[in-house]
Symmetry: C2
Subunit: 394 residues, 2 copies
């Protein structure tokens, strides 16, 4: 067993809402001795990382880089750079992360126009149009691609038209989706997007990949007030990250080791290929869903809009959800997530993200869950869950 | 040679302004497989990390934790949580980091009262009193303990009295000082302080340890406006980090691996002992200074106020400073830093921080610098620098 300080660190199978398990090559990258943040080798690594980020984001945006903070820092980066006090911002709220965007937007001085849907349901272009119609001069529309709190998968392909028609920018939270399902920044007309490293990219948490298109940069260029955060000011960050610069302008000391890890994790994504990686996430999700169904456990997100990488599932009646999670963790070393907010106590969140999305993990989880549920008096025929999942793989 | 992606990563001796070299045990911690951010093991590690941070900060402050960003995020955390629009804030400006604090404070809506000194010089309690006298109702006074851009060491022991007398809070930037020279949060009456991991703690960059005392928390509790940054809001962060909580409230996904690394790095500090660690930094600084003097190279910071961990030194007349730095990097794998701002082109910044502060590194640098300078036509008697340094060790 590994140890840190004098604490033993167990080997977990991470099937919660992230972090996901990390490939040994990425762990190896984390432990590579450091170079300085202005070392020519590191500058080359920055360029490489940006290229790979453009690949996974499917974009040509020059302003594509990792923010030195977690996904929530990416959220704040997108909103703080685009919003000026008094701006109208349409935000889709159907879970924790839409709610968080409203909170962050308010702290940036915006007047958020909340577009609401039940938890687990998604928005249609018509609903977006309706929300835009309620605005005088909407600055942007922000949607969560993959709501980690509900497992709902928001379609984005047909959203840019009404948003751009209204003169607004299209902002997307892709924290949980990037690297696990299709996301096409340029083709879908997304103007600004942020993600996280610890979900489908299977890199440790600590960085937030972002991308800004020209229209978003133009809006930033026309600001009449300064971006309220110096740390997250993309114009300043661009002076350090922009490979067109003859000389990198020091902003803050980049998280060297995390950048190593991200570069290696992105290399693994590229080696696998986006299509193959997405197909793998889909396959494992479907097998898991089949297995859970055999246990009488249903997915709670809107049918046809269920994420491959994050499965929110109903806790069977009469089952103490926390006790089951504890048993999985303590007896089987498997982490699954609890419900958040409205879903607290009612759902489990089972992540199959990046490296964690594998046939072995699906079967291991189903077998373990079946055993734990049986101990808790939930009736299940031994082996049926795994059998149903195995059928899904054939 | 290590590699990341398909890039070879050289082994550098890091003698610049940070990052410093990282102990193998810390690199090992970085590569430890991940657990979740709510895993009981991680929660225990958080407690351990906070205890160790209180030890290095010499404080009993409950609100002592690592911010999920680099030192500049720590700066923004201290200022954004304490400042409300219109607040008067006295800031000592004698280098890049005081200048940065003014910029950050302005973005928080403050009216900064700049207290200026020449680059390389420090402030006296009388100057602080004078600046406070110019204010109507000063909210805080912010000073940089170790100005990484100049090598100046700001005395802090006698500052709290005039500051508290004026009803203001005492805020300190200890990015470069923490773990390398005495810093006593409680004894010196410091109300809020931030640091970085990649300097004298010899942990990779990516986290910023902060500490807030009760007076600062009381000021935050009486705010009439929300903290402008959700990501850096210490009240929310406290709900996740506070070990008194029966249940940790999820805020954002903590950077797991970086927290492993910080915990291990802090354990190493504790094993060495603060007094021994400080003495080591002092000894190596003095030997370096003696060796540089033999090369005709002088320290530029005010005499009696020179940092042990960061030596700003004058570039000899007629020497192309960038060419020398390149030669050290490319031929000897040694990184030293360039001058910033006013000091660009005129000084080198030689760091002896944490693991990088060793007799071997001092001698290696002096020998290499002597050889490179000789190639560039700078007259030096071979061996004199190393000899002078060696004498300092006896």
């Amino acid at each position: 067993m590994a140890s840190v300080g004098d604490l033993s660190i167990p080997q977990r199978v991470l099937l919660g809402p992230g972090p996901s398990n990390v490939h040994p090559r990425v762990l190896q990258a984390m432990s590579t001795p450091l170079v300085g943040h202005l070392d020519p080798t590191f500058v080359e690594l920055m360029d490489r990382t940006q290229e790979l980020l453009r690949f996974v984001f499917q974009t040509r945006n020059k302003m594509t880089l990792p923010i030195s903070g977690t996904g929530s820092a990416g959220m704040e980066t997108c909103l703080a750079n685009l919003i000026e006090p008094g701006d109208e911002v349409v935000i889709g709220v159907n879970g924790v992360f839409g709610t968080r965007m409203v909170e962050v937007a308010k702290r940036c001085g915006a007047s958020p126009v909340e577009m609401r849907a039940e938890w687990g349901r998604v928005f249609t272009p018509e609903q977006v149009q309706e929300a835009l119609d309620r605005c005088r001069r909407p600055k942007c529309v922000a949607l969560v691609h993959a709501e980690t709190s509900t497992g709902a998968w928001q379609p984005l392909e047909d959203m840019a038209a009404p948003i751009h028609q209204a003169g607004a920018l299209f902002v997307v939270d892709a924290v949980t989706s990037l690297g696990g399902c299709p996301l096409e920044i340029d083709n879908w007309g997304i103007d600004a997007c942020y993600s996280g490293t610890q979900k489908c990219l299977s890199c440790p948490p600590g960085l937030s990949p972002i991308t800004f298109g020209q229209a978003a940069l133009d809006v930033i260029g026309r600001r009449s007030s300064r971006v309220q955060s110096w740390y997250l000011d993309v114009s300043l960050l661009g002076n350090y990250w922009d490979e067109g610069q003859a000389k990198r302008v020091y902003h803050h000391t980049a998280p060297i080791s995390m950048t190593y890890a991200l570069c290696e994790a992105l290399s693994l994504v590229k080696e696998e290929g986006l299509a193959a990686r997405h197909a793998r996430h889909k396959r494992n999700h479907e097998a898991l869903a089949a297995g859970l169904k055999a246990l009488g456990i249903e997915l709670v997100a809107q049918e046809g809009h269920r994420l491959w990488m994050l499965n929110s599932v109903s806790v069977p009646d009469g089952i103490d959800e926390a006790a089951v999670r504890s048993a999985l963790l303590n007896e089987y070393n498997i982490e699954i997530g609890a419900g958040l907010g409205e879903f607290a106590g009612k759902v489990w969140r089972i992540g199959l993200m990046g490296e964690s999305s594998s046939q072995a993990n699906v079967l291991l989880l189903l077998e373990s869950l079946e055993a734990v549920l049986a101990q808790h008096g939930h009736p299940c025929q031994p082996g049926t869950a795994v059998q149903a999942a195995r059928a899904g793989y054939q």
